[in-house]
């Protein structure tokens, strides 16, 4: 019952194939795009680069969900299932974020001393290097 219905709602079979090929090409282009972003001037400000890459990923995921997973052709039940899942996922991640910031702000002395060394050292080029013997 269901398959026939969704086929009825589909465009004809041939154009369906066309849609899939088109989606495939777009996915390839988007993958190349995120690869380009990672190596471009956008990464000079990391946040901008990250946001761009995540947007590309979301676009790719949407293409897969809508066309490969047929949600484009499904009826309204798709919202009942996908939106709560999306909401819960975002909720979990977003509510973890404040503790990330908190960890930055109140890095305890003990932790700071035992934390990995930053690559960017406080020493600048002007600092003299202390010789080993007096």
């Amino acid at each position: 019952m269901i398959e026939t219905k969704s086929v009825d709602r589909d465009p004809s079979e041939k154009s369906n194939t066309k849609v899939f090929v088109l989606v495939f090409l777009m996915l390839c282009v988007l993958t190349a795009l995120s690869f380009w972003v990672a190596n471009s001037y956008l990464m000079e400000n990391k946040v901008v680069g990250w946001a761009a890459m995540m947007m590309v990923s979301v676009a790719k995921a949407m293409l897969v969900i809508l066309f490969f997973m047929h949600l484009w052709w499904e009826r309204a039940w798709k919202y009942v299932l996908t939106i709560p899942a999306l909401f819960m996922g975002l909720l979990l991640v977003l509510l973890l974020v404040p503790d990330v910031g908190y960890r930055y702000l109140t890095y305890s002395k003990d932790r700071r001393e035992n934390a990995p060394e930053p690559v960017v050292s406080e020493l600048t080029e002007g600092d003299s290097v202390i010789p080993i013997s007096d």
Binding site: M1, I2, E3, T4, V7, E13, N16, T17, F20, V21, V23, F24, L27, C28, T31, A32, S34, F35, V37, A38, M53, M54, V56, S57, K60, A61, V64, F68, M69, H70, E74, W77, V80, L81, P84, A85, L86, M88, G89, L92, V93, L96, V97, D99, V100, Y104, Y107, N114, A115, P116, E117, P118, V119, V120, S121, V129, I130, P131, I132, S133
Partner: protein
């Protein structure tokens, strides 16, 4: 289930599943709320739970990655991640998503042969993905980049822990070579871990020197620099002018000290020579002397001279002892400073490395890619099971369900790729 898919059944009330060998007296009718087969609905529900599972993993990654001290997260080069390989894997998974869709379309149009071919293509692509993944894992494992402190070679800081780990590792390596040497006494030793000479030089000129400096110096800055320079020489993460300047200054300083010590050595040697002559002279005198009282006098003089001579000899060996580490240090500097890819790479050694936040990186990387790979494996098993059936239109629903799962696996990778390779 499949009877439901027949076009004749267009009423709102779908028929219940047939119970073969039935004990049910009647066939119950149902009123489904959602116009999809039960299996498909269950797969979607299962995928919702999977979303939460991977959200927890990605949330962990976000918290640990962005909560790591600023500027410590390893770059792809640090941890041997090849970005383009990740992109290739993305492409492989996208291709497999397309093939599984075409497989389902073929099954829907009742072309079982065609469907099976598409499915086989998907299976091969999935295996290809896992193959590339295995290659990537291997390239990290062979550099000791994996979670687990007692076995992995990752250290967050160049500190005393790190130093003792390097020392232990190096000693074990040298012991191994020596054992081999005794075992194959006649043959020349070709260890993958560089020649024994190099290892001994590393031990004397780098590790023991660092140990000595750390023990002797009062300055925490110097202690830090010498440890850092050891880590830098073993595994340079990027040009580090601070350490390089330090090493150059230190080398100049060591050279000066050697020159000074050589000067001292000349003086001491001269002393030794003169004192020896005096001892010889006195001994001769003692041999010629007959008078007993004078003899005892000379004997006293001889004893003093001998003592002085011995003291001078001790001073001489002391100077030699002082000279030895300095010389091996300078030799190590001259030999290893030109190696830009680090000792580990150059001599194919497996010495502990300092990669700040490297452990956290390894934990999250292997966690996420590992669980993703397990899901890929699950999909491949489902494909094998599916291929045992005749994939006509009656199996289209089943193929769609497996396809949905496979697309989900693809979507997870779509997010993991930028997060793990490009961020």
């Amino acid at each position: 289930m499949n009877s439901k898919a027949s076009p004749s059944d267009s009423t709102k009330i779908a028929k219940g599943d047939k119970d073969e060998g039935s004990h049910t007296h009647i066939e119950l009718k149902y009123q489904p709320a959602v116009p999809v087969p039960k299996g498909k609905l269950a797969v979607w529900l299962f995928l919702s739970t999977e979303i939460m599972f991977f959200t927890a993993l990605i949330g962990t990654y976000i918290v640990l990655r962005f909560g790591a001290p600023e500027g410590t997260w390893p770059t792809p080069e640090d941890v041997r991640v090849l970005e383009w390989l990740g992109a290739v894997n993305t492409f492989v998974l996208i291709c497999s998503s397309v093939t599984v869709v075409f497989g389902m379309e073929a099954a829907k149009q009742n072309h079982p042969g065609k469907a099976k071919k598409w499915l086989l293509a998907t299976f091969v692509l999935g295996c290809g993905f896992l193959g590339i993944k295995a290659y990537e894992y291997n390239s990290k494992f062979e550099h000791g980049i994996h979670p687990g402190t007692p076995r992995s070679l990752l250290y967050d800081r160049a500190d005393l822990n790190y130093l003792s780990a390097v020392k232990a590792n190096l000693d074990a390596e040298i012991l191994k070579i020596e054992k081999k040497k005794t075992a194959l006494a006649s043959e020349s030793v070709h260890s993958h871990g560089g020649g024994e000479k190099d290892l001994i030089l590393i031990r004397a000129g780098l590790v023991q020197w660092t140990q000595k400096t750390v023990g002797e110096t009062e300055s925490p800055m110097v202690r830090q620099l010498v440890l850092e320079s050891l880590a830098h020489q073993i595994n340079p993460r990027r040009p580090n002018p601070r350490v390089e300047t330090y090493l150059a200054n230190e080398a100049a300083d060591v050279k000066n000290q050697i020159a000074e010590l050589l000067g001292q050595q000349e003086v001491v040697d001269e002393d030794v020579r003169q004192l020896q002559e005096r001892v010889n002279a006195i001994t001769k005198e003692l041999g010629l002397e007959q008078d007993e009282t004078k003899k005892s006098n000379i004997e006293i003089r001889l004893a003093t001279a001998t003592d002085e001579s011995k003291a001078a000899a001790t001073r001489s060996t002391e100077v030699v002892d002082l000279l030895a580490p300095l010389e091996s240090r300078i030799a190590a500097y001259q030999q290893f400073n030109q190696i830009h890819d680090g000792l580990n790479e150059h001599f194919h050694l497996r010495l502990p490395m300092v990669i700040p936040s490297g452990n956290t990186w390894a934990n999250t990387y292997f966690l996420m890619t590992g669980f993703h790979a397990l899901h890929v494996l699950g999909g491949l098993i489902a494909f094998i099971v599916l291929m045992t059936f005749r994939l006509d239109s009656s199996k289209a629903g089943l193929m769609e369900n497996v396809g949905l799962y496979w697309h989900f696996v693809d979507i997870v990778w779509i997010f993991l790729f930028p997060l793990l390779y490009l961020f």
